[in-house]
Amino acid sequence: MGFDIIEPGLSTTVQDQGRIGYYRYGIPQGGSMDQYSASLGNRLVGNTHKEAVLECTYIGPRITMTSDATIAVTGAPVDVFVNGDSVPQYERLSLKSGDELKFGVIKGGTKYFIAVHGGLDVPEVLGSRSTYPIGSIGGVNGRAIAAGDSISIGKKIDNGLPVLQSIPEADRPVFSPTVNVRVMLGLYNHNLSDKGLKKFLDGEWTLTPIADRMGLRYSGPGVEWKKREQPFGAGQDPSNIVDAGYAVGSIQIPGGTQPIILHRDAVSGGGYAMVATVISADMDLVARSSPGTKTRFVSVTMDEALEARREMTARDARIWS
C-alpha cells in the first residue's frame, strides 16, 4: 500500500502541521511551509488537517503507485502528469496501482504539495511526521526522500465531511509577483535609527534565491542602526544582540543589509537583532514567494494581526465543513 520514489525531485520532504513545543530545545516547528495549500490537498482527498503530505520544491518527484490511491496536488502552479497525461491541480484524482505521477515546470511560487488519502505513513517523532533534516528526525529516515524509497499510505479515514471534488477558484491561493506582508514591529526595532525604520517600511524588498524552509533573504535599500555602545556579550556589530530566542516569522537584518524572514524550520535563537515579525496569518503568503517577488512590509497592530488570524480561521472552517 503506497508508492515508490523513482526520482526524488530537488528537495521533497514529508510535512504535516508541525512539531510544536520543542523550540526550547532548538527543534523547529517544521510543517508544510504553506499550511493553507497543504490543507486544501488533505481536504480534497478526504483526510483531516493532520495527515502528512509531500512538500515539493521547484522540481517534484517521479512516483509509481504500488496501490490504488486518491490524491491531490495543491500549492504552487505546476504541470501535473499521470501516465504522461496532463491532469488538473486542486482536484481529487483517483490513481491506480502502477500509475506514474510526475511534474513539469513550476510557474510561480516554490512549493507544491501531494496529498494522499490516508496520509503518508512514516513514524511520528515528537508528535509529528515533519522532516527536520538537520536533526535527522521525522519524514523518511530523518531526510528528504530519495530514489528507491517506498512510502506507505495510512489507513482509510472518515473525516465525516462531504466529498469535495475540486477547490473553487476563489478559494485557491494566489502566487503573486508582488506582495504586501503584514508585520508587527517589535523585539529590537528600537535599535533602528528613524531613517533605518523608514527604509525598512517604505522600501521595496526583492526575495533573493537564498530562501528555503529555514529563512528567506531579501535585497533592497538596507537599513541603519542607532549608534550605541554594544551591551556586554553581544558582539561588536550594531545588528548584534546577546543571543536570544528567535520568534518564528521574525525579521533580522545582519549587518543592516539584507532582511531575513525566519520560517518554519528556523534556527531557534541567535545573536542578530530582529526588528519585526510576520503575523501568523501571512506566514503562508511568505511561503508562496519565489526569488524576485517584490515585497513590502506593512506595519499592523496586535489587534489587526488577531483580526487577520480570525479571518484565516473562518475561511478554514468554511472549507472544512
Binding site: 527536520y132 558582539g235 543571543d243 536570544a244 530566542g245 503575523i279 501568523s280 480561521t313
Partner: protein, 297 residues
C-alpha cells in the same frame, strides 16, 4: 534610591511574547529568565505552547485563539516580580564532565578551509587568534583558561540540542572572542565553539560563525536514543546545567568514541544545588565546591 528593575516586554508577532531581562549578559539575568520560565511552566496554562529561556531574555509562544495576550503579559510580569523578590537564588541542577580534544585535526582542517573572507586572522588557527585577542601567551594558555573553570548552560537552541555556555568567572575574566567575519557553511559535529562571551557545543554538523577550539568526544544529541543518557529524551542539555570541560588526548578521545559506538558510554555527572549569590561572591571558591561534587562520583 532604589533603581526600578523591570524587564522589557515586546511582541514577536501575534504568537510570541519576548521578555528581555537585560540588554547585556549576566548570570543574574540568566537566572531570572530561567526562574520565570520554570514558574510559568508549573502554572500549566492552557494556550501556552512553548517557553524558551535564553541567555538574558525569554521567548514565550502562545496560541492567541486560546490565550489572551494581555492576560499572558500580566501573568509573566507578576512572575517576574516574584522571582526578583525571592531572597535566595538557588537552582537544583547537575554538574557534567564533557571530555574535549582541544586543538584537534577536524576543527583545524575545517578552519583552514574558511580563512580568506571569513576569518580575522589568516595565520594560525582559531585558538591562536583567541589567545591573541584575550592577551594570553599562546593557545595552550587559552585552552587552560577555557577548561579550568566550569560553565553554565545559559540557553539551549539554534539547532537541536545546542547548548550556549557562560563561564562562571568574574566579568573581567570572561573569555571574549569575536565571531567569524562571515559564517562558515560547515562545522564538524561536536565542535566547541566560541563567539562573544559564549561558548557552545555544536550538536550537529552544519553552518556556524563561532571560533572553533576542539571537539567533544561524545554526542550531546542522539535522535536514535541508543545511549543511556538519552533514554528519556534525544537532547542531553537543559538550561541551568553546569559543564566542566576536561581535556583529553587522541588515545583517550578514541577510547571514548569506542564506548559510544558500543553503546556503553555514560557521562560523569553529579547533582548539585547551584547558588547564584555564592558563585557571584566567590567564583573560585564556589567552583572548587562544585568540582568536589563531581569528583566524588
Amino acid at each position: 534610591m532604589t533603581k526600578t528593575v523591570e524587564a522589557r516586554y515586546t511582541w514577536g508577532g501575534d504568537e510570541f511574547l519576548f521578555v528581555e531581562i537585560t540588554e547585556g549578559m549576566s548570570l543574574e539575568s540568566n537566572f531570572i529568565s530561567n526562574s520565570i520560565a520554570n514558574a510559568l511552566e508549573s502554572k500549566n496554562l492552557s494556550g501556552l505552547v512553548d517557553i524558551c529561556p535564553a541567555n538574558a531574555s525569554l521567548l514565550i509562544r502562545f496560541n492567541p485563539d486560546v490565550m489572551n495576550y494581555q492576560e499572558l503579559e500580566k501573568t509573566v510580569r507578576a512572575l517576574e516580580q516574584d522571582v526578583r523578590a525571592s531572597a535566595r537564588q538557588i537552582l537544583n541542577t547537575r554538574i557534567i564532565e564533557i571530555p574535549v580534544w582541544y586543538n584537534d585535526p577536524y576543527t583545524n582542517e575545517t578552519g583552514s578551509r574558511f580563512r580568506e573572507g571569513y576569518h580575522q586572522r589568516p595565520d594560525g588557527n582559531d585558538l591562536d587568534y583567541a589567545a591573541e585577542v584575550n592577551g594570553l601567551a599562546d593557545a595552550a594558555e587559552f585552552i587552560k583558561r577555557h577548561h579550568e573553570s566550569p560553565w553554565l548552560v545559559s540557553m539551549v537552541g539554534f539547532v537541536a540540542g545546542l547548548p550556549f555556555l557562560y563561564q562562571l568567572v568574574d566579568q573581567q575574566h570572561q573569555l571574549q572572542v569575536p565571531k567569524y567575519l562571515s559564517p562558515r557553511t560547515d562545522t564538524p559535529a561536536l565542535t566547541i565553539g566560541h563567539g562573544g562571551c559564549f561558548s557552545c557545543i555544536y550538536s550537529v554538523r552544519g553552518a556556524g560563525g563561532y571560533q572553533m577550539f576542539g571537539v567533544a568526544a561524545a554526542p550531546i544529541y542522539d535522535p536514535t536514543q541508543n545511549l543511556k543518557d538519552f533514554k528519556d529524551f534525544m537532547v542531553f542539555f537543559k538550561p541551568g546545567d553546569i559543564v566542566k570541560f576536561t581535556p583529553v588526548d587522541e588515545p583517550e578521545y578514541r577510547r571514548i568514541q569506542k564506548e559510544v559506538d558500543a553503546g556503553t558510554f555514560v557521562y560523569r555527572q553529579a547533582p548539585i544545588q547551584f547558588d547564584v549569590g555564592a558563585v557571584l561572591a566567590d567564583p573560585e571558591g564556589y567552583n572548587k565546591t562544585m568540582m568536589e561534587a563531581l569528583n566524588g562520583i
